[in-house]
Assembly symmetry: C2
Homo-oligomer: 355 residues x 2
């Protein structure tokens, strides 16, 4: 079923973005009695299909990968970088899109609408196109021309909007209402989080439970997915305690941390000042004793250089987690000897021709 | 041990590129009694470390991924696309580099030389840099500036050479001889093929034995790796017969097929007219009843469009295998009902800013 995070109202497990009260929804799917027994023999994301609210027959292609985890000592802590940028379209979004498209196929929905010009758009274009679902993508006019051509080649219907990010958003909403089409905002979509929660399952198999999870927290799709994955491991009796969650935000675009005056340009993937799942993110910090931390462009730039120098070809938003770790080591929040999980979210190969 | 493919002479299992007779070398490592028993529990390439000539303690980071396999019916055959472009640096080369760097570490070699401006260079720069090995990369002066910056950021020592590809090659060889440094040409290096052979192990676990393998065949590092992987499965008694191997080459750059007059510009990854492992590739075609097929730019372009439209964001060299499949279906070489493995070798995300 779907459960409202605000009023607790329950809905059947269909595609739906919000509760009637306006609250955001999460899936509460019946979990198997044990984690290990639920795993399949597949060497890709289908390994966790027994823990997802979709049936194997509707899973789209290509199937997202099980991504490598890379261990590194930084100062006196042990870090585990999860290479989420090694997914079919170059970001962790493929996990969420994959479960979403499976659900759309299950319900026979042939045409959907999304506003985004980033990794979520590329991901939806690729998976929807392959699954025979028409994806109307609303994108700002200033979007990089290379990206627009990529989206077209992947088969998306592009709607180019003059105006700021909110204008693009409202145009998409109006279009979906006028045409009676399904709006699939990943900021709201509960099935998206069902996909991202598998990052926690994999990380658990690869390193057991880390002491800290340091994750970007813009709209919260990955942050909440990680929390939900570890929470389900706890519900299944597989682990006793959740890791402490650190929410990383970008200077000038903070929603959980205090808003700074200087606006980051490098962390565009998390430049979201009013995320609809804000209260849920706050609850995760409360539950796990975590904190929010904000990073600025000079810190991000330094972290990006460091990551590329260690063979991690990521985009700048991905570097925020390392910048955050450095600050938290300095402040003493993360004690010596800790084991820390840091997802690296998006590929830097897109930047190669342009850098 | 290392065994010469030409005269059969044996050498100890150290880093070495050629036999004294000039012949190329392959590793003949003692195989475990059974394939399944040799697998480790790792969810990355370390799964196959029991079948590799390196010890676990020297394996570098990051560890290459187990890549997804994507199933698609094309006409009356079932294709399995292996997403080899989802590796840390965006190509299958990471598998070969990873085993190579493990071997270099085992032998305590601190500084190496390579000539390449493509995926092999990016891969070596990333893994060597991380492992504390200095990589001198000899690249042509006309290399894309974005790629040069990427190589520098990954920590490589760049040597920019005015002249054609052969001038670059001889400059690298001369430099390594003058300085007494190890030249690590992936065209010759037997440990590189030990890495690429794991593509066959994974594919076998994911789909069992295909009827056909259609692979790019420029220098032959992937083509021979696939053959070696399936051959070792046969030696271990895991499979009875090898798939039929199809070598795909690019118009104007053929070594196995008859040389065409029109030169392909899109398949730069396999534009190698005199591969040192030519005789070994011929032997694979003889052994498996396979053939060579050449494709041109208009066919590659059409195949690339098709792949992007199905969510496979690959570079143009990767599309050669699909162009080849289409031709072989038309000619009747690949019969109805066949199961065909097609590795997709390199990421197209590098093209996004530029396209």
């Amino acid at each position: 079923m779907l459960v409202c995070s605000k009023c607790g109202r329950e809905y059947p497990e269909r595609f739906r973005l919000r509760c009637d009260c306006g609250g955001t929804l999460l899936v509460r799917h019946e979990l198997p009695p044990g984690f290990s027994d639920a795993l399949t023999g597949h060497l890709d994301m289908r390994r966790y299909v027994g823990l997802l609210p979709v049936s194997e027959e509707h899973l789209p292609e290509p199937v997202p990968a099980i991504t490598p985890l890379s261990k590194l000592d930084i100062g006196d802590v042990t870090t585990f970088f999860k290479l989420e940028y090694l997914q079919p379209t170059g970001s962790f979004k493929d996990r969420g899109t994959w479960v979403t498209v499976a659900k759309l196929r299950e319900e026979g929905i042939p045409e959907v609408v999304l506003d985004s010009s980033g990794n979520a758009a590329i991901s939806l274009a690729a998976f929807a196109g392959r699954a025979g679902i028409t994806a109307h993508l609303f994108v700002p006019a200033h979007t990089n021309p290379g990206k627009l051509r990529l989206l077209r080649k992947l088969g998306a219907e592009l709607h180019i909007v003059n105006g700021d990010r909110m204008t693009v958003h409202w145009d998409a909403v109006r279009f979906s209402e006028e045409k009676g089409l399904t709006y699939v905002s990943h900021w709201l979509n509960p099935y998206f989080i069902e996909g991202t929660k598998t990052v926690a399952f994999e990380a658990y198999e690869q390193l057991s439970v880390p002491d800290y999870v340091i994750a970007p927290a813009g709209s919260g799709t990955l942050f909440l997915g990680l929390w939900k994955g570890f929470s389900e491991l706890k519900i299944m009796g597989e682990i006793d305690e959740l890791p402490t969650f650190v929410a990383v935000q970008a200077s000038g675009h903070e929603s959980l941390c205090k808003r700074s005056s200087v606006k980051s340009r490098l962390a565009e993937g998390i430049a979201i000042t009013e995320p609809p799942r804000l209260e849920e993110m706050k609850a995760v910090l409360d539950e796990t004793g975590g904190i929010c931390i904000s990073v600025g462009d000079s810190e991000i730039e330094q972290a990006l250089e460091w990551l590329w120098g260690r063979g991690f070809i990521v985009e700048s938003t991905s570097a925020t987690v390392l910048a955050a770790l450095w600050k938290l080591q300095e402040s003493g929040f993360i004690p010596s000897g800790s084991r820390v999980l840091l997802p690296l979210t998006g590929s830097g190969l897109k930047m190669v021709e342009g850098i």
